[in-house]
Symmetry: C2
Subunit: 208 residues, 2 copies
């Protein structure tokens, strides 16, 4: 991913937040037939491992050897940025349209696991995580479903872990703009309902 | 991309709408160093070609030979779907969490173009398109910027077209659910601010 210095995201806190807030990752791999991608919710564990599961009917676990390289892409909110947004446009007109967005790319090796024990553990972790985010103590628990039903569901999936060996991230958030333009673009993000971009730009506002 | 029958999106109208509403595509390629991805706004032309441009400083145009295979991924809105959303949960408890989303994958061959004429034409098309979507007759036009400034900006980019040879799409929108559950998940999307998913699920509501 092309990352000019001013858009290269190196803040670990930002990177981890993006992965947590946009967990439906795009897992890309090169297989015999070409490039393939699947959209799978994943969870970061111990800062260097992603866990998740795919349907057993998804041939990815057959197409990839153990330890195959995958690229895992997390994409946060994005927005078209018009030159009309910049107050300085009126004075110098030296602006062109662009796009603001944030992305995290994890390069890693994928390992599939067919054991009922690991599958149950991984499904349990993901369920607990996503349910608690939304419902706190009213979270749905795996134990709420009948055991025979859950066993059948577990049978239909394959668990995986991806051992991360490189993380690249980009925050393209108008950081290269004059302060007055930065502030106006930030405010505009709230106006057009891009609240995540508004929050990220507010946090990243360059210090005077 | 794994697409069970009920989630395989074949409706051309839906596919074209998703590409237009979520134009910041993820362009993936296999280069010598491994898998690489960039997030680039693109426009569909004549139903079989994507156009756009990258920074000249982005080595992608050097890393890929003319006609190299790329995978272009468009991802629409997504949401975690809790078993708590389903009214039938109370009666049979036979539900597990899932994720709803839509994605369009275009496989194609990329061709870069360094000519000022093509670059200017492509930048012009993208600008016109995105500005008109937002500002109608108040759109910013390239002619608003000084000619020397625009020439400098055009010099900093490389245009590309991607000739599409395969499109796969997926709409994972609870179509495999009981009508009462489908309706409740649809309503829930509006509650949690996922208006795009609400609109798509409303349009896709299975006929009685």
């Amino acid at each position: 991913m092309y990352r000019p210095e001013h858009f290269d995201e190196k803040d670990q806190e930002v990177i981890i937040r993006l992965m947590a807030e946009f967990p439906l990752a795009t897992i890309v791999a090169q297989i015999k037939e070409g490039l393939v991608a699947n959209h799978i919710p994943v969870l970061l564990e111990d800062d260097d491992r992603l866990i998740g599961h795919i349907a057993k009917a998804n041939s990815l676990h057959q197409d990839l050897a153990d330890g195959a390289e995958v690229l895992v892409i997390f994409r946060a909110d994005d927005a078209y940025i018009s030159p009309n947004y910049y107050p300085t446009k009126a004075t110098d007109h030296r602006h062109v349209p662009t796009w603001n967005y944030q992305a995290v790319h994890c390069q890693g090796k994928i390992y599939f696991d067919h054991s009922v024990k690991t599958k149950t553990a991984i499904v349990g972790k993901l369920t607990k995580h996503f349910e608690r985010l939304q419902f706190a103590e009213k979270a749905w628990r795996m134990a709420d479903a009948p055991a025979d039903y859950m066993a059948g569901m577990i049978d239909q999936i394959v668990a995986f872990r991806i051992q991360i060996n490189q993380v690249l991230a980009k925050s393209k958030l108008s950081q290269n703009r004059a302060a007055v333009d930065y502030d106006k673009v930030t405010a505009k993000m709230a106006d057009i309902g891009k609240t995540h971009l508004f929050d990220e730009m507010t946090r990243k506002k360059p210090k005077k």
